[in-house]
């Protein structure tokens, strides 16, 4: 979809259904003015499904903001595809940074791209609000403009490891050696060791196609439970290989594995897997009912992993932009938007949109999910689980 309209450049298209110029029904606001926000995440490549989930959430937020009519300006979102990898991220960030009209960015979606571009964005005073970059170190790496609406892998990993430690004495921990996968697996290892659980460690390259040997290794170890730190497509392959090798223990992964790519890829082998995710099940939670309906109407598919978080991140950025327009008398800068992000305190559908000084969301919850009969269902807050 064309979301790159702009009032002062001739080669861009106007957004659909959003005629340029004043709509005439916004007294007090200068509706002819256009402000842009950026979006960075994977729209192609191995993890495009997570990216599409998020982009859709953001597209919906932008559409609703424009439709509502009280914005006072026209909002346009420019999407930049970073394929979810750190090596493609600088180019994706440059695309957004070079457009002087872009005043803030939703994303980057993944941790790797965020660590690769956080400094550059900070140097340009460009405010970032990510709906899914969860690596714990991102808020302590000097990325001064980075914010996120999700709990870190540190929080997620600690809570899920505490849950595992309540039930099991031996756990096999595998990671995919990526920024996200290894990050969360390391936290799990540390917490489990502290709790006196015996762990076995292994890594697999993130582009492995044959999980036969590692699955055999897990089965042979007779560990009571397995934790895998990695993304959905790979988790699905691992799930299949584990089923083939006859592993009977509990299988669990983090937020990166919880998606429809996992359910469709793993098939029956995915039943019984557990997922820890600092994310909301938008199809069942009462706070997000209206959102889920609007989403399904717009994209003909129910919202999936990180759609509601991305919707919240976008709404937070829009609210900050709106405030910045007001305080600067219609001349907002990137810096003024960052300042407004830090002052936010509004309700979102997944959490209260209020950020601590380091950019972490003020109160975050981790939920436990499981796959039953080919569907991922939410069991409740991680801390409440027996």
């Amino acid at each position: 979809m064309a979301l790159s309209a702009c009032s002062n450049s001739s080669d861009d298209n106007e957004g659909p259904g959003l005629p340029g110029g004043s709509t005439g029904n916004n007294p007090g606001g200068n509706a002819s003015k256009t402000y842009k926000i950026g979006w960075q995440g994977p729209l192609s490549g191995d993890n495009q499904q997570l990216g599409i989930n998020e982009a859709n959430g953001s597209r919906l937020a932008v559409k609703e903001a424009n439709d509502k009519g009280d914005l006072g300006f026209k909002l346009v979102m420019v999407e930049s595809d970073d394929v979810g990898t750190a090596d493609k991220a600088p180019a994706a960030a440059a695309k957004l940074l070079q457009d002087a009209d872009i005043l803030g960015v939703v994303g980057p979606a993944f941790s790797g791209p965020t660590s690769a571009t956080g400094k550059t964005y900070a140097a340009a005073n460009m405010g970032l609000i990510s709906g899914s970059a969860t690596n714990a170190t991102l808020t302590s790496s000097g990325f001064t403009t980075f914010h996120r609406v999700v709990p870190t892998d540190g929080v997620e990993g600690t809570q899920l490891a505490e849950w595992l430690a309540k039930k099991f004495k031996t756990v096999f921990v595998v990671d995919d050696t990526s920024t996200y996968g290894k990050g969360v697996a390391d936290v799990v290892r540390k917490t489990l060791t502290e709790k006196g659980v015996k762990i076995t460690n292994q890594g697999v390259a993130a582009n492995t196609q044959d999980y036969g040997a590692i699955a055999q290794r897990v089965t042979q170890s007779k560990a009571e439970a397995l934790f895998y730190g990695g993304y959905d497509a790979q988790s699905a392959l691992f799930a299949k290989a584990l089923a083939a090798s006859g592993y009977k223990g509990l299988k669990m992964t983090g937020n990166g594995g919880k998606s429809s790519v996992f359910t469709s890829g793993a098939g029956a082998a995915g039943n019984g897997w557990y997922f820890a995710c600092g994310c909301q099940d938008a199809t069942t939670a009462p706070e997000s009912k209206a959102f889920a309906e609007a989403y399904e109407k717009m994209f003909n598919t129910p919202p999936s992993t990180y759609s509601p978080e991305s919707y919240d991140a976008t709404n937070a950025l829009i609210a900050a932009l709106k405030a910045a327009v007001k305080t600067t008398n219609g001349n907002p800068t990137r810096k003024s938007v960052v300042e407004e992000i830090d002052k936010l305190d509004i309700p979102g559908i997944t959490t209260q949109l209020k950020f601590a000084d380091n950019g972490e969301v003020a109160n975050a919850t981790v939920n436990l999910y499981t796959q039953k009969d080919g569907k991922i269902v939410m069991l409740g807050k991680m801390q409440d689980q027996a």
Partner: protein, 309 residues
């Protein structure tokens, strides 16, 4: 012992797929002294060719009666092999023959191959979507254990893969040893100008060599997709591994490619047995490769297609 056997079986399964792909590298090297780097995408196209036909025949496969499953699988393998053969043939026509006619240096072929490789990968991404996790329908319980040598478990899928790979390898070996086409291939790999003087049509033979390599690679793509999952970028890693396997066995040598493929598959899967972290699998595999080449620089069976087959 049981564990060792389990890993060995996994290694044989993976290795027989490497071997099938490696044959494509080795055959082309035999006749052209050229590494066809686009062969990994020929392999990838086989998986999609099979997928298209299987999908057309049975949709998601849930309603397939059990008697039809072997037929559907056979149709899948044949269509995958055929599509890959067509692509390999076209590749030779478009990317290599024009260069050969103009007497281009070997490096130009290499660049042409890499270009074709990217083109094919992106084309299939565009046509079929860029998900890496496409998979065939599960027609039967793929994890049913058939028999247990030394307590290790052998599964249906593993038998399907190893048996079809071995059948194809024997067929190819006989083809090259006994038929007229096989003799032409060997003659060209031995000495192309003299073969031409003896009345062998070089262009036709090279074309057919590409087609044979494509058939095997495509079948391997189908088997790979059946066992794991597939996508437009799936070719790269198995391609590099199969190339290494061909070198390990002695590039240009058909039996060498088979041995090299099986050996590499087994080495990779025995990594956990000696208690090395599985993330080092590729490192271990390539260390073994380098060690073998230090002592036998021409690979295990050495030298050229013409002599050993």
């Amino acid at each position: 012992m049981t564990d060792f056997m389990n890993y060995l079986i996994l290694g044989l399964t993976r290795g027989s797929m490497y071997a099938l792909i490696a044959l494509g590298y080795t055959l082309v090297y035999g006749v052209l002294q050229l590494i066809n780097f686009a062969h990994s995408e020929v392999f990838m196209s086989g998986a999609f060719g099979s997928y298209a036909i299987v999908h057309l025949l049975v949709g998601d496969g849930k309603a397939t009666p059990s008697w039809a499953v072997p037929l559907v699988l056979l149709a899948g393998m044949v269509s995958g092999a055929l599509l890959a053969a067509v692509i390999a043939w076209a590749l030779e026509r478009v990317a290599y023959r024009p260069l050969r006619k103009r007497g281009a240096p070997k490096l130009a072929f290499l660049i042409s191959a890499i270009g074709a490789s990217f083109f094919l990968s992106q084309l299939f991404g565009k046509l079929f979507g860029r998900l890496t996790s496409n998979s065939f329908p599960e027609f039967f319980d793929q994890n049913a254990v058939i028999f247990k040598p030394f307590g290790a478990e052998v599964r249906v899928l593993q038998i399907v893969i190893v048996a079809s790979a071995v059948a194809m390898m024997i067929f190819l070996d006989r083809l090259v040893t006994l038929t007229k086409l096989g003799r032409s291939i060997r003659a060209i790999s031995e000495d192309a100008p003299t073969a031409a003087l003896m009345g062998i049509d070089i262009d036709k033979t090279i074309s057919r060599t590409f087609v044979i390599g494509g058939l095997l690679g495509g079948a391997a793509g189908f088997l790979f997709g059946l066992n794991f999952s597939f996508g437009n970028t799936m070719g790269f890693i198995p391609g590099v591994k199969a190339f290494a396997a061909a070198v390990l066995g002695g590039i240009g040598n058909i039996r060498g490619a088979m041995i090299g493929g099986l050996l590499l598959g087994i080495v990779e899967n025995l990594v956990p047995v000696v208690n090395i972290d599985t993330k080092w699998t590729d490192v271990v595999a390539f260390v073994v490769l380098v060690l073998v080449l230090m002592f036998r620089p021409t690979g295990i069976l050495g030298e050229r297609l013409g002599r050993a087959a």
